[in-house]
């Protein structure tokens, strides 16, 4: 496997039926183990880019390779499979399934992916143990495992979501403003544990945020406008 995790060339994406916006990226590569901080103006297309990387959207033109896999040549169900096998996703808020316990939420990707399941069981005897260990590393001890996620604070919920994105050792974690619902103290605490885990497991991380102050935690920081060709962004 090559060192390049993300390889984008001459990519063009437009929302169907929407003239005003186009995302056009001539060239963008991310290497294995990199932790990328991605910022950009609201509405510039950050979330859209992450959806492309997660294989939920497909570009109209250009090359989009993730982990040496050409996402543009896959069917939508192959992309669903690919996503759960290789990518951990993390959003701003409401990452959890309200009717499942904390532990079940963490295990969820392993229910849909044999690969993630297999990887989780490499280092633990059961999925439950694996989930509990991750939760512990993110500061949620085993008393939380059986709780309903709705009884957690927002900060705790985000940590559960982080544990889930790490569960079963994905190759890439895509995080879309996961800290914006947290206060400053919680933000850096959360970032520290997330980055710590990614470091240890050698996971590549793409982290989107508005908050310039967080950039120093990362080994690479880019603005979406730098990536895009001149006619990108809101017209």
């Amino acid at each position: 496997m090559s060192q390049t995790v993300i390889d984008i060339q001459n990519l063009l994406f437009q929302w169907p039926g929407r003239e005003g916006f186009r995302l056009s990226i001539p060239n963008f590569q991310v290497d294995r183990g990199e932790r990328v901080f991605l910022q950009g103006a609201s509405g510039s297309g950050k979330s859209t880019l992450l959806s492309l990387l997660g294989g939920v959207l497909v570009p109209q033109q250009g090359r989009l390779q993730v982990l040496d896999t050409d996402l543009t040549r896959m069917t939508s169900s192959e992309r669903d499979r690919f996503r759960v096998d290789h990518v951990g996703l993390l959003f701003q808020q409401f990452n959890l399934v309200p009717y499942l316990s904390v532990r079940e939420n963490v295990i969820l990707p392993c229910r849909f992916s044999q690969r993630r399941r297999g990887r989780a069981l490499e280092s633990a005897d059961s999925l439950e143990l694996s989930a509990d260990r991750l939760l512990g590393q993110l500061g949620l001890d085993s008393t939380y495992a059986q709780q309903r996620v709705t009884s957690l604070s927002v900060g705790q919920q985000q940590r559960v979501a982080a544990a889930r994105s790490l569960m079963g050792h994905p190759d890439l974690i895509i995080a879309d403003e996961p800290t914006s619902a947290l206060d400053a103290d919680r933000q850096s605490e959360f970032l520290n544990v997330l980055l710590g885990r990614c470091n240890e497991e050698g996971v590549t991380l793409i982290f989107v945020s508005h908050d310039q102050r967080l950039a120093h935690h990362f080994n690479r920081s880019i603005n979406l406008s730098e990536l895009c060709s001149f006619n990108a962004g809101p017209v």
Binding site: G54, D80, F94
Partner: protein, 420 residues
Amino acid sequence: MRPLLFLAFASAWNRRTTLGLMAISIGLSVMLLLGVEQLRTQARESFSQSISGTDLVVGARTSPIQLMLYAVFRLGDATHNIRWSSYQTISQHPSVSWSVPISLGDSHRGFAVIGTTTDYFEYFRYADRRLLAFSSGKPFVDIFDAVVGADVAQQLGYQLGDSIILNHGAGGMGLSDHADKPFRVSGILKRTGLSVDRSVHISLEAIEAIHLDWQGGAPMPGLSIPAEYVRKFDLAPKEITAIFIGLKSRAGVFQMQRYINQYKTEPLLAVLPGVALDELWSVVSIVEKSLLAISALVVGVGLSGLVAVVLAGLGERRRELAVLRSVGAGPGVVFMLLAIEGLMVVVAGSLIGLSGLMVLSMFATPILETHLGISLATWTLSAESWKLLLIVMATGFLVSLIPGYRAYRISLADGLTPRL
């Protein structure tokens, strides 16, 4: 498939109050539907079992349905009678194998009194050509002997040898009793599920005897003939109400029917019981079919309620669907999730309806038997009911596809970021 079922259960459990109420309302509608269907099959069955092995039923000229109603079901009254002489002529016709005359009009505490001959117990058949059987005692021998049906004995607590008093007409008012001529219970019949259970059988001579001192439906003033003396009178019957006829060969039935219908001395009517029962049932079945249609509508209302509830819940579940997609659930899985949820409610509802019906029938059976004479002894679901239940479930599954499809569209449009 495993995560799908697990998620569907967890999600349904999370919203168990709403879905539970939904299941109950579907259950009630299913109960209504199956209940009506069961009633209708049972009614139809006891209906078609009411007479068998009789080739012709004969009465004074009237409509075939009316003749069946009073002669077989003991409902309503005959407007005219048959002369005894006509009966004798017909019964001696060469193609007649047996004939049983009956005479109606009196009652005993709400139960019909029927005057007949002991041939009644030998030839009258019902269901699969079954004969009437005695649970105790024997046919009437003496003039004041009476054979009572199972319901009469049970409800009035009669034993062999008990003395009973008949009323004139539909009775119950106690105004015109035949109190001067009490009868003695000589036999009790086994239960048949038919009008026989609700009848008191006496001899034709007894009918004559209790009316010796009557004229035009009222006791003759100043004339009273004590029971001890009635045997001195001529008790040969003068009129009867109807005749059950069995032929030597079924082939001659239409010829015999024509012979009776064209009988010269008085206007008579002969009907083939099978044909008349069908005709009668087709009248009843309008009611029965509308009942079934109404309950089918109620099930429809229940199912659309289900769709409405699941659809209404979808709005607040957009986030959840997006989360599921982010952990690898395809839109197809989301579709199935919602469809399974609907199906689970329908299946639960059907089970509720089914068990509700079983419980209800345990209580309702005795009530229905006494008040409507419908025997619901066997509460095994008919094939027709199973079919209905399957149709309900299949329809339930089909309508569950609606929220499933909606969720599918939503999760395609939303991708990973739910739009509000």
